[in-house]
Subunit: 279 residues, 2 copies
């Protein structure tokens, strides 16, 4: 594996590091960040928590703003934050913030021009963990979480691959993308007009028909500007009820869509995942 270290910062006794590598899946160079807790210092393997960010983000937003390192250091969990789309000059893009770079939606695109690079689903599911587990003192015990578009990605990846993940959680996820403007726009571009193929990327549809369960936690702010039109947690809640899915969904008065909300509840998410990762 050929990876290049770009930066390193000591943080709560562990290390935050950024790396660049060539992704075969995405057909471009990619950057990711990893937080290695102090417990990993002597080559001891620690479990892995994958964070998927929202629209316009990179690997940096979570690491800088989520205030997650302290608890990850206490719990002995590594956190890996990939970028939110393929990158580079020859990667297709769109002027809008919600399509193209920074907006990969964690799908495998089937439509030109997107299908040359936009395969974030496969990248996060296979290539990235294979790389992480071969290079770092990180075990194959994995959980996954994310925010907004990344909350959608985390839920979809966990529900479609229950054997790969111990637990899943999301802040303010796009819960029913086939029925909201962000999702319809992205899925039309990446997956095409035929909505049949969209179903495998919609966490509410997946949860409704699920028979294998991954413990799931969702937190949603009630003062979130995107709540009604884009996020639709009520669809996820109804789906969980139908299939008996082990979903805990909490609503929080006054909280918005920002990282201030994420930071306020990140400790609970890290505890939730650590409990399942250490089983």
């Amino acid at each position: 594996m050929n990876i290049e270290n770009l930066s390193r910062n000591k943080s709560f006794g562990g290390w935050h590091k950024q790396y660049s590598h060539h992704s075969e899946t995405l057909n471009c160079d990619m950057r990711f960040a990893i937080y290695l807790p102090p417990q990993a210092a002597n080559g001891n393997k620690v479990p892995a928590l994958y964070w998927l960010s929202g629209l316009t983000c990179t690997d940096e937003n979570f690491m800088q703003k989520a205030a997650a390192h302290q608890m990850a250091a206490e719990l002995g969990v590594a956190i890996i934050a990939p970028d939110t789309s393929p990158r580079g000059d020859d990667v297709a893009d769109d002027e809008a913030y919600d399509l193209g770079k920074g907006a990969g939606f964690y799908v495998n695109a089937t439509q030109a021009p997107w299908n040359r690079h936009y395969r974030m689903y496969d990248y996060v599911l296979n290539e990235l963990p294979n790389l992480i587990e071969s290079v770092f003192p990180v075990s194959d015990k994995r959980s996954i979480f994310g925010h907004s578009m990344g909350g959608h990605g985390a839920l979809v990846l966990a529900m479609r691959n229950p054997g790969r993940y111990q637990s899943v959680s999301a802040f303010s996820p796009i819960s029913n993308p086939i029925d909201c403007p962000w999702g319809k726009k992205a899925f039309t571009a990446y997956l095409g007009e035929d909505t049949a193929s969209w179903a495998e990327y919609d966490s509410s549809l997946l949860m409704k028909k699920a028979s294998q369960f991954v413990p799931a936690l969702v937190d949603q702010g009630e003062a979130d500007n995107f709540l009604v039109e884009q996020l639709k947690p009520e669809a996820l809640e109804a789906a969980a009820k139908e299939s008996g899915y082990p979903l805990t969904l909490n609503r929080h008065e006054g909280y918005d869509h920002s990282y201030y909300f994420i930071a306020s509840f990140i400790g609970e998410h890290l505890h939730f995942h650590a409990k399942h990762l250490n089983k």
Copy 2:
């Protein structure tokens, strides 16, 4: 007082808010941020901790990256983060990152063109706390802290005004600006070639001759790229020894100049200040 609310985010049960106001001292409009802990919700007055940021920063860096809200909420302390210089189209500037906008150095400039607006010392010492204490449920119990250029500012403000502050702390402060490239450049521009006037803005010189003490805490990373050339904590340490100043200065192996370092030790700083604010 005419102030305008620009944003609000609920955070750990309290509120992060940004405001704009016209500063008479600086002769321009200014933005600041305040974190109000839950204890301030019913108009109960809470003590105030002023944060001064480093070069290139605004009111946002600390609030987004320092992971300070959780502990401030627990301790019941408000945090106020001003900008790092006057702002606006008619404010003198320089192309360099270390002079002009984003680089006010918390001095009262005496030299043209800087003396029209650059009076950050008076702004932070008087106008801003007067505004805060008249508008918010914040008491006149004040402490002050900061990072790098802001660590310099916090130390100078506290040592020159021991009656105004209960305690002072700094991460990686520019400890001896009259003897480092950043300080010499800024002081030459703002205060002029005559170095006699520089002494009142040098925390090592102030500490050496101090007779009234404010409890002081400094943390410094040993992997900080600016340590040897710009920061010079050894000058502060020697000064404290000479005057018997109550300075605690900790060095930390492996930590750099970033907010990852600040976040790692912010809890200790908040506890230190809360102890003195609640006396």
